[in-house]
């Protein structure tokens, strides 16, 4: 079966009051295989997993995440951000097979 890959999604409130702490939730499709398991034919399934998630807001660093193979398939990640100004949140996921995916979400802060 071909594994679904990519399709990153971000859920974040579209507006907030200045100083509010908002929650950002994200999801991406990736098998997150460990390289320790075998398929039905006894062949080792190679490690294929997202290693880094980089989050910026208005191109300023917000959060950097490093992942191991212990993160579940199709990884979900939620974190918080203090709403200081309107702008764009960008997330970039990179895996160990040179896969790179990005997604953005906008917020209006009043």
């Amino acid at each position: 079966m071909a594994e679904a890959l990519g399709n990153p999604m971000i859920r974040m409130p579209s507006s907030a009051k200045k100083g509010d702490i908002v929650e950002v939730r994200s999801l991406i499709m990736n098998p997150m295989t460990t390289g320790l398991t075998k398929d039905k034919a006894g062949k080792v399934i190679p490690a294929h997993f997202i290693q880094t998630v980089t989050v910026t807001f208005n191109q300023k660093p917000l959060l950097d995440v490093d992942w191991s193979t212990a993160v579940s398939a199709n990884p979900y990640l939620a974190f918080k951000m203090r709403a200081e100004e309107s702008g764009t949140l960008e997330m970039t996921w990179k895996d160990n097979t040179n896969g790179t995916w990005s997604a953005t979400a906008k917020i209006t802060v009043s």
């Binding site: 890959l5 990519g6 702490i21 929650e23 939730r25 997150m32 460990t34 320790l36 398991t37 190679p46 490690a47 294929h48 290693q51 880094t52 807001f57 300023k60 660093p61 917000l62 959060l63 950097d64 995440v65 490093d66 992942w67 191991s68 193979t69 212990a70 993160v71 579940s72 398939a73 990884p75 979900y76 990640l77 939620a78 974190f79 918080k80 951000m81 203090r82 200081e84 990179k94 895996d95 160990n96 097979t97 040179n98 896969g99 790179t100 995916w101």
Partner: protein
Amino acid sequence: MKKVQRRQFLGTSATAVAVAAVAGSSLLRAGSAIAGNVAGWPAKAFDAKTLDQAMTDSIGKTNIPVSAKVILKAPTIAENGGSVPVTIEVDSPMTADDYISTVWLFVDHNPTPLASQFNFTPACGKAYIQERIKMAKTDNVRVVAKTNKGELMASAPKEVKVTIGGCGG
């Protein structure tokens, strides 16, 4: 050791690979046979096979005082070790002068105990993370947090009873 060397080599050549990858479609890139670690990914700590080694390679020490400021939530019983929800929250003002810079998440007896590393900035407002992890068997999960001043504090270890281990899938 051979594996580590290969990873390190590919890490240094990541720029060249990235340039080559721009030409391909995202699907081709993702399915590429050329595997290599993402630049900056802490391979040594993630490859460590024991909790002590993983803590030494990531934090630099193993004996971290437990603090009530570090809150780790995980289910007491997880039917599926392949997807165990964990929530991490560290009490911190998250100002430019006083914030949590790094949080490490460990599963004591996983084949590689270091599960994740989170590098926060004051702009996060809260040192908070929610994700799902794999657990090989009934085990302790634990978190270590570091402030921007270098102060280390740990959560109490939280035992999760795993009915079906998460390493089969």
